[in-house]
């Protein structure tokens, strides 16, 4: 008891000034983030509707100069990032104080946001790469902000290596592009895109899909995401999962759909396969995950997979001569990016609120938060509803549009479409189904029922600033769930700038009713909500029938099958909840289970205890990454022989290197 009391007392007595300073710094950092975000939001919205704005600062970067061209597509991503940053900034004010952040992450947080805002604004290859690197480095620093934990350090190294590998691929692709186009501005490259050789285009496509796909968390280069996102502090997780992954999507749209598009059919097909595999794999992992933030991170992979699938559909359809349906798919992709940003911000902020209150991320130990943290529970519920893609949730409308684009592609004579579309519907449907299961698990096991640990029992609601940040994100979720028409003009503006994927056709009409021109299909999320409310009221009214005959209502203990009490340990946990699905998909998930039976020494027939352990690793990571890492280590061991510690030898290496460079330069 004394050990827990003492530090708290010390904090109150001796560290008053420190607390005040922490508060000042947290407010400054949060406010800076929010203001940057608001600025980005405004600029982004202006860019979507206005003409493309240019800004050149030649002195800032030697040789190339810095160049910003903000067009509608970039504007959309700037606006999304800005909006996420606004909510996260307000949230951070409370979170940084509660979690006692050091000064360093507080300074880097606005920098990270700035980097993300600059990426879509970049108008030339050097500027883009610079902004990309700023974003990557800042996020790495933020991931490492709790570096005294081993898991964080491991995740940081993993993230650093993978993000740099991705960067190298993007670098190569963009250098190839500017070399082929003879200029480094994106406008120049776009103008010369049609003259490029097929080989260059293919190489650029493959490299960008790998590089940007890795940032978006697509398979097989997703492995950093479920490690780095959960280990980062929650506001940073929210920024990474809701805003940074979008940059990967932005890159794919910008380079592969806009500048080089419309590509051949296999480009679209590749994107569809990558997207479908990522979506199904991500959601399967989310279904069996027991770590709340890891679950959300895998859900990010899932949703980015869905977006990529939609992008692939758009690309494939416009290459197959169906630009009007391609535009519908593109709308689905963009709307899903927006909706995902809203609900994932909310979910990660709520998870952070739980983490701050209990110190727990393990769903097996959580529970009973609904009574202890009601606002956070409601917030997470809204986010989870959005992530599950059910009606009344933020993700429903975009998934509905995606389905419409998949079922309305004209099959006439095209075997490829006739095979791809049904399989895609199956994949997306499986994703939605499992997504529902994973979100029911996260919400039902984590927040409802009874607390499974002392920490969860002692949880207290988060401060006002954190709740406000979540509230903003929840409001955005409500917009996407009930009134997506609000963002219709913005989507229209972006689509107009994307004629490569049918942006010049009618597209989806987003008003009170969503209508698809030329196609018989409509949905009205707002009216559906009103009608559902009426239905629920009617059901309530029906259940009031006979009420005057009823004895007075009572509260009773839970039915324990006749036994005295039902301990919280008897509840289903997240592991047991997902066990059936894990069994069904054990060919894919490859769980590692162990049952160990210890017998009494006296008799073989009496069991003293039974231990059951199950471990779920990421199978892709195990199969694909372990051999690669092994090979790299083996190579490093070979190279190590050259390092014998002699300064003379090292100088000799330098000299030889110089000679080689001189000879090659000849």
């Amino acid at each position: 008891m004394t050990t827990t009391v003492l530090p708290a007392a010390a904090a109150e007595l001796g560290e008053g000034p420190r607390t005040a300073r922490l508060a000042r710094e947290a407010i400054a950092s949060g406010l800076a983030t929010t203001l940057l975000g608001a600025l980005g939001l405004v600029l982004g919205v202006v860019a979507i509707f206005g003409p493309t704005r240019h800004l050149r600062i030649d002195w800032l970067l030697p040789l190339a100069g810095v160049r910003f061209d903000v067009d509608p597509l970039g504007g959309l991503f700037i606006a999304v990032t800005g909006a996420v940053a606004v909510a996260v900034g307000i949230y951070t004010v409370g979170y940084a104080q509660r979690e006692h952040w050091a000064r360093f992450p507080m300074v880097v947080l606005p920098l990270f946001v700035a980097g993300m805002l600059l990426v879509p604004a970049a108008g030339s290859v050097p500027t883009f790469l610079l902004a990309w690197e700023l974003m990557a480095a800042a996020s790495l620093v933020l991931v490492l902000s709790e570096h005294n934990r081993g898991a964080v350090r491991f995740a940081g190294v993993f993230y650093a290596v993978m993000t740099q590998l991705g960067f190298v691929m993007i670098l190569l692709a963009l250098v190839l592009l500017s070399a082929a186009a003879g200029g480094d501005a994106f406008t120049t490259i776009a103008a010369h895109a049609d003259d490029m050789s097929a080989g260059t285009r293919t190489a650029v496509f493959v490299l960008t899909v790998l590089g940007f796909g890795s940032k978006a968390g697509l398979l097989p280069l997703h492995a950093w995401l479920p490690k780095a996102h959960p280990e980062a502090p929650s506001p940073v997780s929210a920024l990474m999962s809701a805003a940074m992954v979008n940059m990967g999507i932005y890159g794919i749209i910008r380079i592969d759909l806009q500048i080089l598009g419309p590509g051949p059919q296999w480009w679209g097909l590749t994107l569809m396969i990558l997207g479908a595999v990522s979506a199904v794999f991500g959601v399967l992992q989310a279904t069996v995950a027991t770590d709340l933030k890891r679950l959300l991170a895998y859900s990010t992979t899932e949703n980015m997979g869905l977006v990529t699938l939609a992008l692939g559909t758009a690309s494939l359809l416009s290459a197959s001569g169906a630009p009007d349906v391609a535009a519908i798919a593109m709308t689905a992709a963009l709307l899903h990016v927006l909706a995902h940003a809203a609900f994932k911000t909310l979910a990660f902020l709520a998870a952070g609120s739980v983490l701050a209150a209990t110190g727990l991320r393990d769903l097996d130990k959580l529970g009973g938060l609904a009574r202890r943290m009601p606002v956070t529970t409601v917030m997470f519920g809204i986010g989870a509803l959005g992530a599950s893609g059910l009606p009344m949730g933020a993700g429903f409308v975009s998934e509905w549009i995606l389905f419409q684009s998949l079922i309305h592609s004209p099959p006439d004579g095209n075997t490829l479409l006739a095979l791809a579309m049904p399989l895609s519907v199956g994949a997306v449907a499986l994703t939605t189904g499992l997504g529902i299961a994973s979100m029911v698990k996260a919400f039902g096991v984590g927040f409802l029922a009874r607390p499974r640990s002392v920490a969860a029992e002692d949880a207290r609601e988060s401060p006002m600033s954190m709740l406000t940040g979540m509230g903003l994100a929840a409001a955005a979720c409500a917009v996407f769930a009930f009134w997506p028409a609000l963002v219709a003009p913005a989507l229209r503006g972006v689509l107009d700038a994307l004629p490569e994927v049918g942006g010049d056709t009618a597209g989806v009409q987003l008003a009170t009713f969503l209508r698809l021109p030329g196609i018989d299909g409509s949905l009205s999320p707002a009216l559906l909500a009103v009608a559902l409310a009426a239905g629920v009221l009617l059901a309530f009214a029906a259940s009031r029938w006979g009420a005057r005959h009823r004895p007075a209502p009572v509260e009773v203990p839970l039915w324990a099958c006749g036994a005295e009490t039902l301990s919280p340990r008897m509840q289903y946990t997240a592991t047991s909840f997902a066990e059936p699905l894990q069994r069904v998909f054990d060919n894919v998930l490859r769980p590692d289970t162990d049952v160990e039976v210890t017998h009494f020494a006296e008799s073989q027939y009496l069991v003293e205890k039974v231990t059951f352990t199950t471990r779920l690793a990421d199978p892709v990571e195990q199969r694909l990454y372990t051999p690669v890492v092994g090979a790299v280590i083996a190579l490093a061991q070979t190279v190590r022989r050259a390092h014998n510690g002699s300064v003379h030898l090292y100088l000799l290496y330098g000299a030889i290197g110089l000679l080689v460079v001189l000879l090659v330069a000849q």
């Binding site: 199956g426 559906l528 004895p551 007075a552």
Partner: protein
């Protein structure tokens, strides 16, 4: 949208509310007769409902609002579906509010509400039922959406009125390969979603073998009545949907006369009774599947749905 089609939609809700317990009762009665019993009669579920509605409200300690409102949400989604579907007449005023994808979404919303309620109780059985229910729901979703896809191909739309009128305009397609496969797939899906044999046994007494029942084990009195009512309505609505998707004859048009609506009522009553009777009779011959064999059944139905889409897709080019 005429006044009568609004009346028809309201009537659909009312008739489903009133008729659902009779459908359940009828099914039990068919089963009882085939087993050589007398049975409680078609009105038994109604008597049970009335009785439960007069009983005490019981709130298990520690449950939250989720537990309290879940039955109403489950019933509310089903009622909304009843208003959207073309049961008596085409062109419900809510037809353009949600298409078949929306209807499926609403169905799952109801399932999720009860699942969360099962978890909310914090009992072993509640969690067990929820876990099983959500597993089945997750595996059902691909089949159901693929079947929707297959059905939407002839009418080029997933809006229900469009699908049904496409069938009415072109009756031959009911007996096409795609349609038959989609029918079988949908039947399996409906059995799984409404917790009938062989997926779940609605009359089991053993908690360990339960799926739906385990989830609602803590409900009592009026809330239990609502849960049972909702599950009966869900069965009724799904059977009506099945009937009208594949055998829409008798349904009133988009701008119906009073007589047409009445014919529609009679037609659907006959169709649902026949379907329910067949389902109940079929149940006499089968035992419940082991829980981990259910995915086999569902993957089979997934295959059928996929074949349905493929068949309709590849054969969509009209014959000359």
């Amino acid at each position: 949208m005429s006044a009568l089609s609004i009346v028809a939609a309201v009537l659909q809700v009312v008739v489903v509310l009133v008729g659902a317990p009779f459908v359940v009762g009828g099914m039990r009665q068919v089963r009882a007769r085939l087993e050589g019993r007398a049975g409680g009669g078609v009105g038994q579920p109604w008597r049970d409902l009335r009785k439960q509605l007069r009983k005490q409200q019981v709130t298990p300690r520690g449950t939250t609002l989720v537990f309290a409102v879940a039955p109403a949400i489950a019933a509310g989604t089903t009622l909304l579906i009843a208003a959207i579907l073309p049961i008596f007449a085409l062109g419900s005023p809510l037809d353009s509010v949600a298409d078949l994808f929306g209807v499926v979404g609403l169905l799952f919303l109801g399932t999720v509400a009860l699942t969360l309620a099962g978890l909310d109780t914090g009992t072993a059985f509640g969690g067990m039922g929820s876990s099983r229910e959500i597993t089945i729901a997750a595996l059902v979703e691909p089949t159901i959406l693929l079947a929707v896809f297959a059905l939407s191909i002839p009418g080029q739309s997933a809006n229900l009125s469009a699908i049904v009128s496409a069938t009415l305009d072109n009756p031959g397609q009911v007996f096409s390969l795609g349609s038959v496969l989609a029918f079988v797939a949908l039947v399996i899906v409906i059995i799984a979603e409404t917790g009938r044999l062989p997926v779940d046994n609605p009359s089991t007494h053993l908690e360990l073998t339960m799926i739906h029942e385990a989830m609602v084990l803590e409900y009592a009195g009026p809330k239990l009545a609502l849960v049972e009512w909702a599950s009966g309505m869900r069965l009724t609505v799904l059977l009506a949907l099945l009937a009208n998707l594949f055998l829409p004859w008798g349904i009133a048009g988009a701008d119906p006369s009073l007589l047409a609506v009445l014919i529609g009522v009679v037609a659907i009553a006959v169709k649902v009774s026949v379907l329910a009777g067949l389902l109940a009779a079929g149940e006499v011959f089968i035992a419940k599947l082991r829980y981990f064999r259910v995915p086999e059944l569902l993957s089979g139905s997934f295959l059928l749905a996929l074949l349905a889409v493929t068949a309709s897709y590849f054969l969509a080019t009209p014959t000359r």
